[in-house]
Every structure is written in C-alpha cells, then in structure tokens.
C-alpha cells in the first residue's frame, strides 16, 4: 500500500497496481526458467544421489548415503587432484594475467581496446579445437619437445604430453580470459592521480604499487581467481585430451559414471560432493581475504 497513485480516480488506482505487478511480470519468464531448469534439477541430483539400482533393474530411492562414503573412499585421489590442479592453474593464470592486464590498463595508451580484443580473440576458437592444438604443440614429435630434449631439460625419452604439467598448462590456458578480464576492469578503474599523489609523497614505484595499485585491484584478483578456480575444478577435457588416466580429475569420473557406466546415483553423489567442496574452499578463501569489505 506504499504506492500512492499520482493521478486520482480509478484509472490512477489501476496504474498503481499495475506498477506494483510490473516487476514480477518482467521477472516471471526468466526466473521461472531458472527455477525449473536450474533449481529443480539440483533437487533431482540430490534425490538421485540417494538411490540404488542400475539401468536394467531400475533405480529406487532409499536414502543410500553409502553413495557418498563410497565416492569419497574410492575417488578421494581424483577429488584431491582436481582441487590441486585447479588451484595451481589459478595461481599460474594470475601470474600470467596480472602483468598483462596491468600493461594494457596503464601502458597501451589509446590502443587499449585493441589489445583487450587481442586477449579475448583466441577464445573464439572452439574450446576443444584449442585443446587439440595444445596436443599438437606438446606432442612427442613436436618442436617444443625436441628443443627441450636437445637442451637436456627433458631426458631423451621425456614427454610433455600425458603429464600433470600438460594438464595444468591446458587448464591455465583455457580459463585465462576469466582471469584477465576482471583484473583489467579493476586496474582500469585505478585513479592515476592517486599514483601521482603517492609519488609526490616520495613513495618509490614499488611502494606505490604495493600500497596503492595492488590493494585497489584486489576485487579483480578475487573475482578472477574464483571465476578461474570454480570451472577448472569440474573440468575433464584437459585431463582427457592432454593427460592419461593417471591425471584424471573428478570431472572425468563423473562424466564416465553418468554417460558410459550409467551409475547415476554414484555420479550424482560425486557431483554434489564437488559442489560442496568448492563451496567450502570458496568460503575459506573469502574469509581469508575479508572480501565482504572489498566487494561492498
């Protein structure tokens, strides 16, 4: 009853009611879609994870918590590896992206947009084709391996493909834009007058970076690391194409349980554990950075 019609009479009243209803009408279709095809599926993922059975005899719901304990005992190695690979890839992506984003934001002058475009451009080549290209680059018969072998960095039968390094490198590459873009946005907003002020107060370049630029870019670091880490945890393409079963991550297990073995309950339980693990990791990380303050 807060909306007071501006013009009196019945027409005004109708307009007031329509105004109150308007946002819900606009929200309606999209929110309904998200509820039916995002929230409801989560419910089914939950119930499926507590079922037992097989494709032949059918699945029955019987609070089978054993799916969860089995998943952890049988596949804790893949869970740990996923977090480990995703974490390492996120750190490397940050180390590659920060100077690049900094350079574009502060040094590229009027070509800013062009360089930003150059950073995003490679990702218009389909994900899988990009990863296949890395397969070619890192292949045993490729240039990189033969150079590294002749420099004795790799032994004469040393490989790059089918190693953890290859998988981590692939993940780093494929999720790089998720890191560069938020970093660039936060660095671009840094007021250059603050840097001038720091200089006037006799701060060295390093000090003014550490005390002014870096703290101001932390929201970008936060957003970038999360946007890289979360999808990286669930990835299975890089491990599949650049690694061996020895490098498989939890995504590979979930994928094959769902689509090849059709052990839906176990696979659903693993999806849920993955989501919970990410949620816990992100919460700890948020607490450590104290980002409620940063984001506000």
């Amino acid at each position: 009853m807060t909306a007071i019609p501006r013009t009196g009479g019945l027409a005004g009243l109708a307009r007031g009611r329509r105004k109150r209803l308007a946002p819900y009408l606009l929200l309606g279709p999209g929110i309904a879609w998200l509820i039916v095809f995002f929230l409801v599926p989560m419910y089914y993922l939950g119930t499926t994870s507590l079922q037992t059975g097989s494709l032949e005899i059918g699945y029955t719901f019987n609070w089978a918590w054993s799916n969860y304990s089995d998943a952890i005992t049988n596949y804790h190695e893949q869970f740990v590896r996923s977090i480990e690979y995703a974490g390492l890839a996120t750190i490397i992506a940050l180390l590659v992206s920060y100077p690049l984003a900094y350079w574009i934001a502060f040094r590229s002058g009027r070509w800013k947009n062009l360089f930003l475009l150059l950073v995003i451009a490679p990702f218009f080549v389909t994900y899988l084709i990009r990863t296949l290209a890395w397969q070619t680059i890192l292949a045993d018969s490729g240039v990189v391996v033969s150079v590294l072998r002749s420099l004795h960095v790799l032994s004469s039968d040393g490989r790059l493909l089918a190693t953890s390094a290859a998988v981590i490198a692939g993940i780093t590459y494929n999720f790089l834009p998720f890191m560069v873009l938020p970093l660039y946005v936060s660095l671009e907003q840094v007021d250059e007058r603050l840097l001038d002020a720091a200089h006037d107060l006799y701060a060295s370049r390093v000090t003014s970076f550490l005390r002014v630029t870096l703290p101001l870019s932390l929201p970008g670091v936060f957003a970038g690391t999360l946007l890289t880490f979360i999808p990286a945890c669930g990835d299975f393409i890089n491990a599949q194409l650049l690694g061996t079963p020895g490098q498989y991550m939890i995504g590979n297990v979930i994928q094959s349980k769902f689509l090849q073995i059709t052990d839906y309950p176990q696979a659903a339980a693993m999806s849920f554990i993955l989501m919970a693990a990410i949620l816990i990791a992100v919460t700890i990380y948020t607490r450590l950075l104290g980002t409620e303050r940063l984001m506000g």
Binding site: P41, F124, T126, L128
Partner: protein, 293 residues
Amino acid sequence: MSATAEPLATSATPARTKRARRPGRGPLAWLRRHALSIYATLALIYLFLPIAVVIAFSFNEPKGRFNYTWEGFTLQNWLHPFDVPGIQDAITTSLEIAVIASLAATTMGALIALAIARYQFRGRGLINTLIFLPMTTPEIVMGSSLLTLFLNQGVNTGFGTIVIAHIAFNISYVVVTVKARLAGFDRHLEEAAMDLGANEWVTFRKVTLPLIAPGVISAGLLAFALSIDDFVITYFNSGSTVTFPLFVWGSARVATPPQINVIGSMIFILAVGGMLVNVAVQYQRAKRASATA
C-alpha cells in the same frame, strides 16, 4: 609553516615528467625499463600460439587419420570445408540451437535486468542470488543435474533438451550484461514521456528500448557465442544429437580431419573481424567527437 608551500608547488608541475626515470645505459637497464612490455608481449604470444597452430594445420595435408604432424601444404581443406561426413549437419545443428537459445535467453534475461534496474520489489536479494548461482556452478554439475531431471521425468534427451539447457545457462550472463548497461538508466526519461501523453507501450518502444538496445545486442552476441562453444552441458543432454563441439570431441578419438581446423579458423576470423570493425568504428567516432569539441 613555509614548508607546506613547497610540496604544493611541486605537485603543480606535471607529474609525468617527474615520474620518468633517469635513462640508464646498457642492455640490463634497457631490459629493466622494458620488462613489463616484454612480459606482456610474451603473454600475447602464448595466447596466440595455439591459434597459429590451428590456422597453420588447416592447410595441412595429413597422411594418416590424425592431423598432428605437418605433412605438406594444401588448399583443398579450405576449398572443401564440408567434405567430411556429418560436419555440415553438426554445424547446422549448432547454429540452430545457438539462434533459438540466444534469442530466448536474451528476451528473458533482458526483462529480468529491466525489472532489477527500474523497480523496487520484495525478494530482490533472492533473485540476485538465483541469477548469480548458475555462473558459479561448475558446468559438469549443471549438466549432470539437468540430466537427472530429464531421466527422472522420462524425457528423451536431444535437440530440445540442448536448447533448454543453453537457455538456462545463458540467462544469467544476459542479465549481468544488460544490467551493467542499465546502471546509469534515468527513469525520469520514461516519466517525462508518460507526462507528455505517451502510453506505456509507446514509452517502452520510443524511450526504454533505444536506451537498452546496445546492452541487449551485446548480451545476445555473448549468449550466441557461449551457446555455439558449449561442450560440457551439451554433452550431458544431447542424446544422439551432434553439435559442432560434440563432433570435434567424437573425431578426437578416431580421426581429426583438417576441416575441423578450417571451421575453427573461420569462426575465429569472423568473430575477430567483426570485433575489429567495431573497435575501428568506435575509434573513428571518438576522433570525430574530439574534433568537433
């Protein structure tokens, strides 16, 4: 306090000249001065290395079934890009799905963004969370949860379920993109139109729509790009339907025809060409604006 006058005076001098370093001599000093630019160049090379390989190998003439080693230059792949069984169907399917999904997601997402930007309503926090969640859910969780929905409801997966899934993951991205554009939206413009006698529909068409159009268009393009490139969620809900990424995945195991690289290069050239034109237009417009000012 005569000392206070001095820093004030120095800060008035242009900061640029002050911040310039004493030019050092020798290769080490040069390296130090250009370290950041060198690093950025190396990073850009790293970004483009695989793309160079994709384009180079689109001209390869592989002897075996796999396109991994360089055998010789040919133009045949570019002259016959669809000369691989199944590839044309896969591309058509991908395009159809991307068009339907991006149109639907853009419409629904833009309406949500509009509601958030111009109305106060209950449950705003809840709505924001619901929009934020899909973007922070790993693709594999989203794909597998949708599959459990379809399995439990006895829905056969295929073209329709892929479209449903693509709309679902695109809505959030559309909302975020359009919302960013609406941040400075002035509601008074709409009220002015209404006061001048325009009804709600005319106001929407003549005032609101032109204001949000650029945001809606870029959101639509983003949705299209995300849809055409999606693999994981599609893989879970595709049934026997084959999109282009699924076609590439299937061939990665048995044979990789160089035509895959040709199509990949084409998409890349189209997308980057379009964006370059956009940057050039913006640049020209900025130049003209500064010339008239």
